[in-house]
Symmetry: C3
Subunit: 297 residues, 3 copies
Amino acid sequence: MRLEDWLNKGIPDISKSLMKVHKHHFPIEQSLGFEGQEKIIKILKNFRKVLYPCFCDTYKDELRVETNVGNLLRSTALDLKSIIAKVLENSGEGRPEAKAEEIVIDLLNKLPEIREILQTDIQAAYNGDPAALSLEEILFSYPSITAITIHRIAHELYEAGVPIIPRIMSEHAHSLTGIDIHPGAKIGEYFFIDHGTGVVIGETSTIGKNVKIYQGVTIGAKSFPLDEHGNPIKGIKRHPDIGDNVIIYAGATILGGDTKIGHDSIIGGNIWLTQSVPPYSRIYNSQPLPQIKQKKE
Amino acid sequence: MRLEDWLNKGIPDISKSLMKVHKHHFPIEQSLGFEGQEKIIKILKNFRKVLYPCFCDTYKDELRVETNVGNLLRSTALDLKSIIAKVLENSGEGRPEAKAEEIVIDLLNKLPEIREILQTDIQAAYNGDPAALSLEEILFSYPSITAITIHRIAHELYEAGVPIIPRIMSEHAHSLTGIDIHPGAKIGEYFFIDHGTGVVIGETSTIGKNVKIYQGVTIGAKSFPLDEHGNPIKGIKRHPDIGDNVIIYAGATILGGDTKIGHDSIIGGNIWLTQSVPPYSRIYNSQPLPQIKQKKE
Amino acid sequence: MRLEDWLNKGIPDISKSLMKVHKHHFPIEQSLGFEGQEKIIKILKNFRKVLYPCFCDTYKDELRVETNVGNLLRSTALDLKSIIAKVLENSGEGRPEAKAEEIVIDLLNKLPEIREILQTDIQAAYNGDPAALSLEEILFSYPSITAITIHRIAHELYEAGVPIIPRIMSEHAHSLTGIDIHPGAKIGEYFFIDHGTGVVIGETSTIGKNVKIYQGVTIGAKSFPLDEHGNPIKGIKRHPDIGDNVIIYAGATILGGDTKIGHDSIIGGNIWLTQSVPPYSRIYNSQPLPQIKQKKE
């Protein structure tokens, strides 16, 4: 068979070339690889089962569910520690193992509080959507809950200075839900995103309590200053602050690190906003009405 | 190792706290859990294989394919019955087993008709997209077909009064395709959504025959009345009616339970529409042309 | 049990009906089936591991990583050949096996070059996003990289005339990322899409070097000519040409096969553009500012 013969001869050179290009840019002995990515996704799935336990399959009484939650929490903590230690070591941190242990212990200690806050997010979805019939429907079929559950975990790791892993977590949420929340964003309780596809919330955004956002909303950067080599300067406040009790309708775009949306404001659909507005604002589009013509029947 | 010691001491309390928060809001002995969600997704995958069978792997003659379809249909029917019975029991229905059986039998009896209608949707995609080269290309690479296949099954269960499951199905479609169709929406034959990311179709929408929709279209609610406690009243007509042969271009937003789009109308891209329009309407944006400046070269 | 009895009697007829409808439209003995779709997705995953190798799990020294890359490349090449041969045979091509082997050999020979170009895309993401902290963060958490990696492989197969498979690949990317790039699109090096949800790039688009695109951008068709039966004519230039060094901000829509965006232009957010613009253009929306009202506190 021609292909097999060709492969026998051709593969070694092609492999070598591929390795050469890759190694030139990535230290392959440090890389997480797609296996690392898959481990992080599994860790997120396990956190979900721990945060929202059920009598599933073999766990038919409460004591066994509790034992199951404990076991899952333990193995997840160890997995998370090992991958955090790896990325800390790769980024040149001293004592990566000890620091990873500290970070995991802090996260686990905060889990019950995170769960309380997630309950406010579930409640906000129930309050905010006439189509929602039960809390369980929200837990298992609202992308907002998937996205914010992952965000609240990723944000803790981001705040603890863990590289790469929080972004892999948030991009997993993005892939599942179409909701792209950078792990750096600070988001208050009772947060709800309806439908959600296309939502973008930037790294340095802050969002108050009881904020409701619809699909296609961007809370983003206006433009960003470049350094002397023409590269964007990292780590500057680039994204807006959204006050408590704000509603932002579908497709609205709010940009800029100086932009503050005052509390109790309503931002209409498709609004383009790059300036601050005071509390209790109502922002409407003054766009002309569409033209309606009727074709001869 | 410090972490393992800490886990031995710390895990039981954290597990107890997590259980306590969760149990306060969710009856964990009733919950479907993420295992239930995974079962529902498997049921959908099996329906897909039954609706669009092939000579795959070991099934190399038509009789064996037919046997395979039958076996898959049988096991899927039993799985579906068992999960429907569980959600009916959880919601306090009497005779959950008997009702679940009835619902599954009704769905299976309708499957050939559903398959006929899905063929019109496949045909509509072929007719509506110059890039489509074969029906098989459409079946395996058009998100519209994934979304409408799941919708037509979920809608039957919604009409039969099954709680939660139809929404888990539609959210699975949303996650795969970016197309968010509430299972309550009534959609006629020859339905096509091109590209699809960001499309939202609300619960009480009705859509006629031969309707074509592009990415980013919302058929949604304008606002909704609140009850005396400030919560949205559930179960009211909140979403538009779209007539036969309507085309809605990318990014258009059509809102409100009183809004009716007359048959054979064309709604332009990015239109914002909260009023009814008569048949054969052509809706254009009268927005000013963009300003074009040229930077010194 | 009522359901089991009913299934014994009812299943054969329903299976027969489903088979009948399906066979009438699809040659089931030729179909790839969802199993074929899963094989193609697995091939893409393997290409990803070959293009971006790491010291993962058992491969702890460089020589073994290289061997692993070679083995994976070999098995992936054989899998790809077998599925290409099948679709070529289905579409009536003569010598499908020989042609499939040629196509696979050509693709493998080009892989190192493709990897070099993908490195420019990774670099473009790093340059273009202040939130990006390392190349590895980009590789594992930027949807742009997932989408363009799949695109550059799918495009080679599209150019080689392989039916169906390139579209299944691009739709897989779309499902993962919300970025919908038709495999026919020609895209230059240093390409970056930020966030990406809702991006649509049509089949006959051409995109120059160093182009940056934000979420929700459509590079699409204006309208398309119909043949004498009212069906769209396939294979006509329908999508725009985008010059080198162009930036297109979120939500912009650029339509039409005659539309050319001159090099070094900037297209503002939400712009709707169906005409050509010269090099160095700056396109701003002249839309009226939003109206801001303040509700009594």
